[in-house]
């Protein structure tokens, strides 16, 4: 029969972070829902909200701070599902620098991802009252971190941003022992923000047919996540199969899949937890003199799609 076409823009390259979607694709869950899904990998020079605005994709994955900031910029993106309920973001420091808590950050060099991913860090620092501008008294020196853990390994930075499931494993894989490192999980610091959520443009939600399509997409994706969490080895293999760069290794993807499984909650069918949303907004608004968003967003999420997905 005729399949409905749908394009998904990831926010990073093909890896186990997105195992649920690849699993749904590989196992035919999307087809079962009458969907023909195209997955576009992301990369360092790709801003998913821009792709959405330009019509290059129907849905995207994005971190909520970045998505809310884009909304303020006039791109009406709306969260329609939130498979990731916990944050995997953390700051990883060399233990021998003597950093034990945020109070030790003054004068340190810290690597941060930018490109819309800097907001959690900035709001954390502003909550701690640590300036991040160049040369500020008692502040930190912020580096725009590249795409790997070299700044830490080369000791160009005292701390760098890592994800529990990816960069942290890379640091360990390069021979560093866990006790050589001190880590700060954003969850533990009370500044966690929602990560990989599914977003679409507001206008799509006005079209019942499209809403139905999105609901089928979310349902199939959550089915994919359920499967991937239960079958990490096979999921990692699927990732290897879909990675066309030939750069991913099975062991790394398996390790990533195991960490990712801890962040995903499949029990709610992908429905957004309003409390978690509110915590994210509060964290972003609390950004002192330079908050990430200036006002509490209106209509930035909807349960419409997940509700529809649940009813079917």
């Amino acid at each position: 029969q005729d399949l409905d076409e749908l394009t998904l823009q990831l926010q990073w390259v093909t890896q186990a972070q997105f195992a649920g979607y690849y699993a749904a694709l590989a196992n035919g869950y999307y087809e079962d829902e009458g969907l023909d899904v195209t997955i576009l990998p992301g990369g360092p020079d790709i801003a998913p909200p821009q792709v959405l605005a330009g019509g290059g994709a129907d849905v995207m994955l994005n971190w909520m701070p970045s998505a809310l900031a884009a909304r303020e910029r006039g791109v009406p993106v709306v969260n329609i599902a939130q498979p990731f309920t916990s944050s995997g973001l953390m700051l990883t420091c060399w233990a021998d620098t003597g950093i034990e808590g945020p109070q030790d950050f003054a004068g340190r060099t810290i690597g941060v991802w930018f490109f819309g991913n800097e907001y959690p860090f900035l709001s954390w620092m502003s909550q701690e009252g640590i300036p991040t501008e160049e040369g500020a008294e008692g502040g930190v020196t912020v580096l725009k971190q590249g795409f790997n853990v070299d700044p830490l390994l080369q000791r160009q930075a005292d701390c760098i941003s890592t994800m529990t499931y990816n960069e942290y494993n890379q640091v360990l894989a390069s021979g560093v022992a866990e006790d050589e490192l001190t880590t700060f999980l954003y969850e533990d610091q009370g500044v966690a923000t929602l990560e990989d959520g599914i977003y679409t443009l507001e206008e799509n939600l006005e079209d019942p047919e499209m809403v139905d399509k999105l609901a089928r997409f979310v349902r199939a994706s959550m089915r994919g996540w359920e499967w991937a969490v239960e079958n990490p080895e096979e999921a990692a293999e699927i990732i290897i199969d879909y990675d066309e760069t030939g750069a991913q290794t099975y062991d790394h993807q398996l390790a990533m899949m195991e960490e990712i499984a801890k962040l995903v909650d499949t029990s709610q069918g992908g429905a957004l937890d309003e409390a978690a949303y509110q915590r994210t907004v509060d964290t972003l608004l609390a950004g002192g003199s330079d908050p990430v968003i200036t006002a509490a967003p209106e209509g930035a999420w909807t349960a419409q799609v997940t509700d529809a997905a649940g009813e079917m």
């Binding site: 390259v13 360092p44 020079d45 792709v51 790997n148 070299d150 021979g175 760069t245 030939g246």
Partner: protein
Amino acid sequence: MTDHPISAPGAGIGRSLRVGLLVRRMMGTAGPVLAVVAGLLAIWYLAAIPMNAAQSVTDAERAGAAFDVSAAERRDMGGLSLVALAPGTALAGAYGQERPRLPAPHQVAGEMWASTFALGADCGPAERERDRLELFGRTWAVHEDCLAPVTSRRSLILHAGLTLAPTLLGFAIGSLLGVALAVGIVHSRVMDLSVMPWAIASQTIPILAIAPMIIVVMNSVGIQGLLPKAIISAYLSFFPVVVGMAKGLRAPSAADLDLMRTWGASGARILWHLRLPASAPYLFASLKIGVAAALVGAIVAELPTGAVRGLGARLLAGSYYGQTIQIWSALFAAAIAAALLVAAIGGIERGVLGRMGLRR
């Protein structure tokens, strides 16, 4: 044959002279190039010792060796002082690291070999491995994916080939555009005055900055795939062609142009019979620069398109995981591809100019 004694004066001069000339021409470039390459390799090997010293010492320490200087203090030491601190360790660890700051030439060569012929160190789950191979002091897994060399995802040839398509298309677009602009510039003073400064300005715009916008804009009008990448690569390659062609189309002397006018030739005839042939040497010189630029453009274009295949994607993938050896091998693969493209243009140039009688 003849019975002239071989020792007769002048005997054999003709042949030995010709052979001598041939040998001298070969030695003319091959010898010096080999010498320079050898020199560079020597410097490279030497430089790898201090460059990788920090990691060598850290590795040794993790393996149980003890050093007088603590890790925190070592952080501020340069590579040379680390070599002075532990010369034996630095030397022993310089050429065998997984993620060296400066991979040794043989590591890069090994990776290029392996990824050209598609061997992979751990390229899949253990149970899918068919065989293991000892090469370059490393164990390579021969994954079933990797058995058909060129079509494997690890094959540099595959990636280079995939980058080549937008390169060639972009190069074609860029060259045609460049030639067309040059023709306009030469024939119209308005074009000359208004286009040239903006062509220069266009080349000062960082392509990596506007590439994502080109992609998104083209995407929003429904153009995807090869063309956006080709456009970016054309953007980089048209400029040298414009400059070179404008010079070449103006190469005919005033006397040549006057002669055409005494024959009552039209502008188009002058272009076809005089300006274009006269510009051929300039065209080829700028095409050589343009094709290299087009390759760089195609590689750059792989970033904002989220390309998962191609040399640029391969470079980035290496970069995400700190795989320096992989970065270097992709880098050299790109340079080799550029050299081959330039050589191909050179071959066409020799043929065309030879047929035109412009090569003496």
